[in-house]
Amino acid sequence: MVTTRFTKKRALIALLALPLALAACTDDDGGNDAGNEEGGGGGGSDFTFAVVTHASAGDAFWDVVQNGAEAAAEDLGIEVTYQGSGEPDEQAQLIEAAVSDEVDGIVVSLANPDAMREPLASAEEAGIPVITINSGENESASLGAITHVGQTETVAGQGAGEQLAEAGVTNLICVIHEPGNIGLEQRCEGATEGLGGTVENLQVDINDVAGAQTTIQSSLQADPSINGVLALNPAIGVAAVDAVAGAGSEAQIATFDLSGDVVSAIEDGSILFAVDQQQYLQGYVPIVLLKLYQENNNIMGGGLPVLTGPGFVTQENAATVADLAEAGTR
């Protein structure tokens, strides 16, 4: 009896201690932070910036954005936190948390601009500068952001459509992987304009890539006249390669954004090209811009968005990009 109670108690204590230990693991940052705050009076560059995106953890594209932001933090010797949630109310709360934490600047992606209006207003009220990234360039200024760093989605979609038309595509499916994201819809609209042929939107779920592959495959089987697939995410692009092979289709594939797998697929010719918005810049640049704003009151872009894309990665330039993509910076 005594021994069992004893072990039970110890197990409970061990469990209680676990998050403390985990906290200690990540406490390097916290330690730094405290050190910085102490020096804060004298120096000028002990900033903490919060990056809050609409992406859930584990997304290959946003991982590169995070890498960019963290690299900038390290290069500049400042503190950056990265958080994200696909639910608009949660993203809003993450911004509110950053405001409560009195950070020196906030970087936010605007997949759902309306939902960010209120938390960004409280950031403005607290005198915290905001830079928007990725989608939402049209709403950026009205939400009080000093600059927008991203890619114009319609223009990028249009470019992709034109390139596909050149490659002989006439009947295209545009694969939308996040049903609520307005930027993806704009890409497909742009592609429709650029292609000048038939474009059908196809809904899949980014959290279920295997399911996405079967959905693409069955729509290719259902309509053999489809001769092009435009994916809007690298993981979906790779899934589309398998889907096209599985359906025995001749459809050509293009994708938005890069990953190591996408680059090797471009090298071996199974993906025609990738629209590269160089999202590493969307992580890195805002941190630099916020620091410049805080230290020197500089604002870049002159009221226009700072564009990070679109660039096109094709078979010709794929090799140079390959190593970088593997390293998680392209």
Partner: protein
């Protein structure tokens, strides 16, 4: 029914327990200790967590969850699940936003329609479960997928896009927002009005559960529907009413979210149903029904909200967010269990 038990010895179940013992018997005691532990933990390791604006932040995260957790707790005490409750919040939000922005309806009228949709969805859930005897897990999972499809499909057909925005320009937005989504300044922090709704709903649910006849019915049908029916409890009606109450509450919460964000995304709400159930279980609800409390579920939601925002305040690596959250919830639940076991020992 009115035979006086004149000479019968007093039933041991009817003996009035002492105050301490009654306190220890409460199902929410463990959750209260868990909530206190999580609060102390984050208050100790972060600067912002225990400040007024920090508290407002995690209360804001906990409130919508708390309202739903209380509703779901009642349903679970009644012995059923509702997996469609999370997506129902988005459905209601979309109904309000679409009717108000696309068809120019007054927000209040749109809200009434959303409530009607909630009642209908709950009624369908309930009647199918009661009539077929199928597990509510399956029936409401079906409803979950139906609503998910409708949310995207209908929104796309009506608006041509996947999010409905611009609700702040609709008639009646101001007054609706004042009741459902505004913030109130307390100690210099902007506290969301949903927090007060949460407290109100918890109080009302507690009263119904513990002081009214329908409350007894809920415990009875969750304990054993057959036995309950045997002693004259309207089991089918009670269950259907519970399903309708949950969906209607989801409609209320969905409307609150829509008014607050002024836009609704067609794919939101998915996965929330499990958060509701988790909060109710942390708060002492049994998955098998017949036991639980509204206050406990509210405390469960509080633990969830504090853990979720506390991790952010602590600046822990976001890649590990779900791990941290899962561990914290497990620990809170274990602590809950431990306290309850100790309480049972002390009771004897």
């Amino acid at each position: 029914m009115t035979v006086a038990p004149a000479a019968a010895p007093p039933d041991e179940r009817m003996v009035t327990a002492g105050l301490t013992r009654r306190f220890l018997q409460r199902p929410e005691l463990g959750a209260a200790v868990g909530a206190l532990a999580v609060f102390v933990f984050f208050a100790a390791i972060t600067d912002a967590f225990a400040t007024p604006s920090g508290i407002a932040n995690w209360l804001d995260a906990a409130a919508p969850l708390g309202i739903m957790a209380v509703a779901v707790a009642l349903l679970m005490i009644g012995g059923e699940f509702d997996l469609s409750a999370g997506v129902m919040t988005a459905t209601a939000g979309l109904v309000v936003a679409t009717l108000a922005t696309e068809y120019g309806l007054n927000v209040w009228l749109a809200f009434a329609v959303a409530i009607a949709v909630g009642l209908l969805v709950g009624f369908v859930n309930g009647i199918v479960v009661v009539r077929t005897g199928l597990p509510s897990f399956i029936v409401t999972l079906g409803m979950f997928l139906v609503l998910q499809g409708l949310n995207l499909g209908v929104t796309k057909v009506i608006t041509g896009t996947v999010q409905v925005g611009g609700l702040d320009d609709a008639d009646g937005y101001g007054s609706a927002r004042a009741l459902f989504a505004t913030t109130v300044e307390i100690f210099g922090a902007d506290v969301r009005v949903t927090v007060f709704w949460w407290i109100g709903v918890t109080a009302l649910a507690t009263y119904v559960l513990l002081r009214t006849r329908p409350g007894n019915w809920i415990f009875a049908v969750g304990g054993s529907a057959v036995a309950a029916r045997g002693v004259g409890v309207p089991a089918a009606r009670t269950k259907i009413a519970l399903f309708m109450m949950v969906s209607t509450m989801a409609a209320l919460v969905g409307t609150m979210q829509a008014l607050r964000l002024t836009s609704v995304q067609a794919n939101s709400g998915i996965g929330l149903e499990f958060e509701f159930i988790i909060a109710a279980v942390i708060g002492g609800c049994l998955l098998t029904g017949g036991f639980g409390s509204a206050v406990g579920a509210a405390l469960g939601a509080l633990i969830f909200g504090m853990a979720k925002q506390g991790i952010v305040f602590a600046g822990w690596d976001s890649d590990w967010f779900m791990l941290f959250l899962g561990l914290l919830l497990l620990i809170a639940t274990l602590l809950n269990l431990y306290v309850r076991r100790r309480a049972e020992v002390m009771k004897r």
